[in-house]
């Protein structure tokens, strides 16, 4: 689904922060992306969801070479990639329901078509009681789950999550992990960027480890 070949990234004229990355995110696969702070996990994720162009190498997303994509091609590809941001990025003036429904709304779907699906998903992530709450009154964990629900609502082919358990306690982290595994079983490829070793030890999954700008893969 996503393929990197000898990808390198540098900011301005500085040294390469990511070097010779070659890997593939396969359909329906589950993997952790890890490494020490500042290793370049967020930069790699940004390249995965088409927010950053590499300085060298080839990236193919859903069969398309990103170097040849024009700006108008990007939304249709982004609609197949779900992203959970580390800082959630929920819209403060919208309720949980409206935030989760946002991707469907921008795709032009009518509310009566998706209303029940959104409510079901919000209940599935355990926020059934917080349907009409604004983000300002949600706890960190609740915001995290709302952000996850928003990334999942349109059944993406790939889910990218940046530290999705960074703001939650251990039991909730396990619950979220089960949620990601369930999603993966239903056919979505999942990439979870984390440095939570405890979380990774709970699942026998592929690990992409970034260190000194290079990637080691443990299948």
């Amino acid at each position: 689904m996503i393929r990197f070949e000898n990808v390198g990234l540098r900011y301005d004229m500085g040294p390469e922060v990511l070097r010779d990355l070659t890997f593939e995110i396969r359909r329906q696969s589950f993997q952790f992306l890890t490494g020490p702070s500042g290793a370049g996990k967020t930069s790699l994720l940004r390249m995965l969801f088409l927010a950053l162009r590499p300085t060298r190498g080839l990236i193919t997303v859903l069969g398309k070479d990103v170097a040849t994509l024009s700006r108008k091609d990007l939304p249709s590809i982004r609609r197949r990639i779900g992203v959970v941001f580390q800082d959630f990025r929920l819209l403060d003036h919208m309720t949980t329901y409206e935030n989760v429904a946002l991707p469907l709304r921008v795709r032009g779907k009518e509310e009566h078509e998706y209303r029940q699906d959104v409510i079901d998903l919000i209940k599935w992530v355990g926020l059934g009681e917080r349907l009409h709450a604004l983000p300002i009154v949600l706890s960190g964990g609740e915001k995290q789950r709302a952000a996850i629900a928003r990334a999942l609502i349109d059944q993406p082919d790939i889910l990218l999550a940046d530290e999705p358990t960074g703001n939650v306690d251990a039991p909730l982290a396990r619950r979220l992990l089960r949620l990601f595994l369930e999603l993966n079983r239903s056919g979505t490829a999942v990439v979870i960027a984390t440095h939570d070793l405890g979380l990774m030890d709970q699942v026998d999954a592929r690990r992409l480890i970034l260190s000194d700008g290079r990637l080691e893969i443990y299948d």
Partner: protein
Amino acid sequence: MTDVALRMMDARAFLIRTFHALRGDRQTPIVPPGNVAGRALTTVIAIMTFLAALTVGAVSLVSDTAARWENDISDEITIQVKPADGLDMKTALETVRQIALQTPGVRGASILDQTATSQLLEPWLGNNIDFKELPVPRLVIVQIDSGSPPNFAFMRDELQAAVPQAQLDDHRAWVSRLVAMARAMVLIGLFILSLVVVATVLTVIFATRGAMSGNRQIVEVLHFVGARSSFIAREFERHFLRLGLIGACVGGILAMIVFYLVGALTQSNRLTPEADQISALFGSFTIGWSGYVGVLVLLIVVAGLTALTSRLTVTRHLAEIDMISPVES
């Protein structure tokens, strides 16, 4: 799904949203309707539109007045007949009137009667004087066709031949001075108007950009959940067009109320000597239709500009966050 199909869906979504909005069945707007930056922007737009509308009104007033001066004065000339020994004033006036009427380009001629002449001199000589005993010059007022005016030199010669005491005054010196002054006033007014409009435009642009900076996160979220740039730009454009229209309408309508009140006030005070002088200079001191049309155009321009600025700001921000190269950024 193909690109065309996605675009069709976007267009369908737009139609559906419009239909729902018309039905009054609204979802929470994607761009929050009211915040401090939005209210500040509306206030700034209202104030600048008010000032610009006042300038439009003032320029329109000066321009209309200048045109009226020019027309009033150039529509009329006077022939003065000075008294002289042995001159039968009555016959001389009638001769002058007939010569005037026979000249091509003249629409009418009338003799200013004794009473009217006395009234003209009253401010200088008072009303206790018997004018019949004074050698007062008499006037013949001639209405001319300003489109094809008579040949003044020929008319002057004819009058001199028939009545040597007759003197033609075509007000040319007055007209040229007044017209030059009026045109200078209009030019100065237009210059001030252009400065005010430029200031309004710049204020609106900077205030819109300021208000937009608080919405960067919304732009980014919409972008990363797969919204097309046109969808995001349209949402912001609609929101800022609404803010711009509210601000511009408040400012413009206030300015129109001021025009109306000033007009009504000068009408009601017309009997006082001060108001009489103002009326002599500016007529009724009311803004003509061109002033009101100018204000309406201004409203549309300001609101459109606000929407356009928000669209350009969103588009530029999207270009900044869209697949940027770290080297280029």
